[in-house]
């Protein structure tokens, strides 16, 4: 159990590591959304499952599963709302840098 | 001299926020600086009696050595609530001041209020 748990945790950390690479590699905001929306959620879920596996079947693992559920719901939603807010405010995907009016406002 | 490193960190924080207070032009930043100052003080209180691998003071008869000091925690909950109330009052004053004088920074507010 311990070894299996550790392996799953390491897989999760590798996911997160990809996320860190991506957040520097992508030059576009809407690509970076991907990191938080998918890669990071999956990484966090994998780590949590790994820890739950290490603990076996117990109250601790049950609570961890609840937490995993909450993360699964909330993390993509936060990303979605952030992206939507950016889109509706006119922060365009095609441009490499913020649009003129945005720049003027100094955001 | 023997230093407690966390104590040094909180003192550093205290003076960073002090720097914020003596340089900030806008009022909202002063409010934030006060919030940071409070946070520094809270950190100092909680660091009293810290050793690494410390446990929360929960349980029927906890062992004294490895358990955190409960009193500063109880005090700091009080301090946090007081802090949020002060921040709320400050901000609402700031909004009202802005509504009346159209002043965002200290100098403008002072000038407007003297008229």
């Amino acid at each position: 159990m311990q070894i299996a748990g550790n392996i799953i945790i390491i897989i999760g950390i590798i996911f997160m590591f990809f996320g860190v690479i991506g957040i520097y590699k992508f030059k576009n905001f809407y690509s970076r959304i991907l990191i938080s929306g998918q890669i990071d959620t999956v990484g966090a879920l994998t780590v949590i499952i790994g820890i739950a596996v290490k603990h076996g079947i117990s109250f601790f693992s049950l609570k961890l599963l609840l937490l995993a559920g909450i993360i699964l719901l909330l993390n993509p939603l936060a990303t979605h709302i952030t992206a939507r807010s950016a889109r509706l405010s006119g922060y365009l995907a095609q441009e490499q840098e913020p649009p003129p009016h945005d720049k003027k406002d100094g955001v | 001299m023997v230093f407690d490193i966390i104590e040094i960190f909180s003192v550093l924080m205290f003076f960073i926020s002090f720097y914020g207070l003596i340089t900030s032009k806008s009022i909202i930043k002063s409010v934030v600086s006060i919030l940071l100052m409070e946070s520094a003080v809270i950190m100092f209180f909680l660091s009293i009696g810290y050793t690494s691998g410390i446990m929360p003071p929960i349980g029927q008869n906890p062992e004294t050595e490895t358990v955190a000091d409960p009193l500063p925690q109880a005090l700091m909950i009080t301090a946090i609530i007081i802090g949020v109330a002060v921040v709320a009052v400050n901000l609402i004053m700031l909004i009202s001041l802005y509504r009346q004088c159209k002043a965002k920074d200290w100098d403008a507010a002072k000038k407007k209020s003297m008229e």
Partner: protein, 85 residues
């Protein structure tokens, strides 16, 4: 545990991204990422001591971090385009 050493490194990298991130929304994204990483640290901590009640804090943290993120992004949204009903 190794988590305690790897995650802070990630955190520092995220914070650098937050500092250079060109727009507000990048920073918000960074805030979300930081919150998730910190939740994992908390879980690792709880699992180290085998204390179940420490997990409460992780749940609270996740929910509260989420609320502040979406509140900021909702308020940042340009109201004109969204339109009143």
């Amino acid at each position: 545990m190794y988590i305690f050493w790897i995650i802070p490194v990630f955190l520092i990298l995220y914070i650098i991204r937050i500092i250079i991130g060109p727009s507000v929304w990048d920073r918000l994204l960074g805030m979300n990422l930081v919150a998730t990483k910190v939740v994992i640290i908390i879980i690792a901590f709880a699992s180290l001591y085998e204390l179940t009640y420490l997990l409460d804090f992780a749940i609270v943290y996740e929910i509260f971090g989420f609320i502040s993120t979406i509140f900021i992004s909702l308020f940042l949204m340009e109201r004109k385009k969204g339109g009143k009903k």
